[in-house]
Symmetry: C2
Subunit: 445 residues, 2 copies
């Protein structure tokens, strides 16, 4: 397989486009098959465009392919969480240390940039091409383009076709393919806080806003047009659920009671609510990721829930790691493919589990006194011992050289230590006089 | 849905055939679509026919449909496990109490009987019909029969089409369908111990033979023609694995070392080994099992590994429970379908997990001194307090009125108590003088 020249990528989404930049630059003949029409032909609808949180793991590969400056112009840094309680009182909590931030960015805008860059690097993107079948033995893709059946032979095939990947679908029916898809009980609906009349942001611009309400929450991320894209995460069924929000009165009552300050900023709430779909949230795990000369990556092999803001970042990290392995093994795909999946699978599993857990933290714990105190103590530990104690959120979000699986492991050790600290009598009053050195020393055991 | 008249069942395997007997007897117009040709047209190959272990949960529904006597003529009772060590020393371990046994039966023979009985009850079985698509909204099945595309509308649709169910495959792509398929690292291969020259059984007839060897094992179940069907369970890869058994010498060496007494009884070992496939073992879990008017049951909704001998038994129990709910709700399917899945899902999950765990017990613990002692103490407890302490294996296998989920729960409580008992110093010497009353009393907490 070291004589591979042609690579076919299924899906020109964020991960497929970034992978095609790396691979075209390595000199491969890269073809990308995308099911949808070219998104760059349409004006991008700012209101409905989902925004994502780009953080260090995503930045690294973007820098490697030289897109740092262009992307920089597209982002709004968010230094922390702004929590809104039911009476409208705000609490700000930094994500990391001074200068550290996650970055709100439009999915559509970033995807368009990556596609254009991929083409500039020599990749060819074929739009309106739907995969019908994959033959893993002969490395043939059967697809339709405008209703016409076609086939295409390739050296290496990569499926970066998302959580509902067709490439994976054909892997799934091969022997000994482990697979799970698991939906959480919550759905989500996108809503909008438009720009203020004077073109200003109606809420603090450089923050991710959260209205944590126990079993559910509303969040808002800033857009460059001074609007916010809000997402309501709510169970599909049950006492407080989408099912219960049947009439306009139901919706308005719910927002009045739970999100009164957000409601004031949402003139088009009812319109948005009825117009936008209620979507589900899935976690996909599978293994192997490689079948002969086919590899799946990004959401296709590890779709996760959005609560750690790591879906795109982990997919971009896949691309960076793949490129590094190609460097290390001089493009010997026979070594790269198995090593890639062995290396990345534990990291994908780690961020998958972390993302599920972070939903509980976001919707619930962020409004909890004990949780806030724990964060304060951890921040103090980090301040005193910067290289030794790094809160889990920071390891995942800002320590791009640390593997997700290592971050999880270290986080678990720290959690055990902090659990003990939090059990100390009247910890709320006396936390400042804790023996911080002794706490950090426990990490050495 | 209380005016349902027509029911279509996909798959005329064991579960589909039993379900069609129940439903045809209730007066429904039952059609069964089976992918394969009619197995009754061919002579049934005794050697290659897998045999199954029929136990109480399977007997109950067979009795309900009046097949007790016919099936009784087809079985060989196995009262316990006969363990073979590497020097050929045998240890017998009863499965339950006097008169309790599990029953070796040929899958093909039982399936043929059930099909014939289903037709007698009025069900129509259409062979060589492959499902191409299921429309859950309109309750339409698209299928091919001898290359011709056809469609069929039905009142209720049931998928009993096995671990690789097509009906489930179409459910899987609907929103919010949770699904997992998980393969264990072991494969299996069927082998044969033929009848002795005088037509006698070469090993003890009324036992399930096990050659437990730590990470792998060989088992043998008796057939009515005095042969035994053996199954070798072995990892696909690794030190002792199918991968390592490449040549005739490899195979013979392996058997000589690990299964010398079995090897003596296997004149066609090499032929069997090369001819029979190495198959994989999958656990499938999913939810929901109902989509509009379609229900999946048996392996289609809960395929399990074979190590508790409960795959067929749990599928038959599905049929019995479904029939009982139809009785209880006067054939109101709108109530029966949701109640069936809510009731059965925890039981399917329980037996699924138990089956995975029992592999470890079979291949490993049965040869362990401590395990045998634990079994002895539990048997004593059952003897002294028959209604109060029932070993987990007995609850699962012989207590057909106890739900699997309850058996698992009760088993976990007993395990905790037994763990403590086994920790007592010199328990091996003094177990007969234990305070058994005190042990049983712990169950009351």
């Amino acid at each position: 397989m070291s004589d591979v020249r042609s690579i076919t990528i299924i899906g020109a989404g964020l991960v497929g486009s970034l992978a095609s930049i790396y691979l075209a630059r390595r000199g491969y003949d890269v073809k990308v098959f995308e099911k949808r029409p070219d998104m760059r032909d349409k004006s991008i609808d700012g209101g409905r465009s989902i925004n994502l949180a780009l953080s260090n793991r995503g930045w690294w590969p973007l820098k490697e392919v030289g897109l740092e400056h262009k992307v920089n112009e597209m982002v709004i840094p968010m230094q922390g969480r702004m929590m809104h309680d039911t009476s409208g009182i705000l609490t700000f909590q930094r994500y990391g240390q001074e200068g550290q931030a996650i970055n709100s960015i439009s999915r559509a805008g970033l995807n368009a940039l990556l596609m254009t860059e991929a083409e500039r690097a020599g990749a060819e993107i074929y739009f309106n091409c739907s995969i019908e079948h994959v033959d893993f033995e002969r490395n043939v893709i059967h697809y339709t383009e405008g209703g016409n059946k076609k086939e295409h032979v390739t050296g290496i095939l990569m499926g970066s076709d998302g959580a509902f990947s067709m490439v994976r679908k054909f892997m799934q029916v091969t022997d000994r393919f482990n697979y799970s898809q698991y939906y959480i009980e919550h759905g989500y609906k996108e809503l909008t806080i438009p720009a203020g009349e004077d073109g200003r942001f109606r809420l603090e611009k450089n923050a991710l806003h959260i209205w944590p309400r126990g079993n559910y929450m509303l969040i808002a991320l800033p857009n460059q047009d001074a609007s916010f894209t809000c997402t309501l995460f709510l169970p599909f069924e049950g006492e407080r659920s989408f099912e219960q929000l049947a009439t306009d009165a139901d919706i308005l009552d719910f927002f009045k009671q739970d999100f009164p300050d957000a409601l004031e900023q949402m003139p088009a709430l009812l319109e948005d609510f009825h117009h936008n779909p209620t979507s589900s949230l899935v976690t996909v795990k599978c293994y192997p990721w490689v079948k002969n000369k086919t590899l799946i990556l990004g959401d296709a092999s590890h779709a996760i829930v959005p609560f750690y803001g790591q879906g795109m970042n982990s997919g971009f990290e896949d691309c960076r790691v793949l490129n590094a392995l190609l460097d290390a093994h001089k493009d010997n795909w026979e070594r790269v493919l198995p090593e890639f999946q062995q290396l990345r699978k534990p990291d994908a599993d780690a961020i998958s589990d972390l993302a599920l857990r972070n939903f509980i933290e976001m919707r619930d714990l962020v409004a909890d006194e004990n949780f806030l105190l724990r964060k304060k103590i951890e921040a103090k530990l980090q301040e005193l011992y910067p290289g030794l104690w790094i809160p889990l959120y920071s390891m995942v979000t800002f320590q791009e050289e640390l593997r997700y699986s290592e971050a999880l492991r270290q986080g678990q050790r720290q959690q055990k230590i902090m659990d003990k600290v939090m059990e100390m009598p009247s910890i709320a009053d006396r936390w400042q006089s804790l023996d911080f050195q002794a706490i950090v020393d426990e990490l050495k055991d």
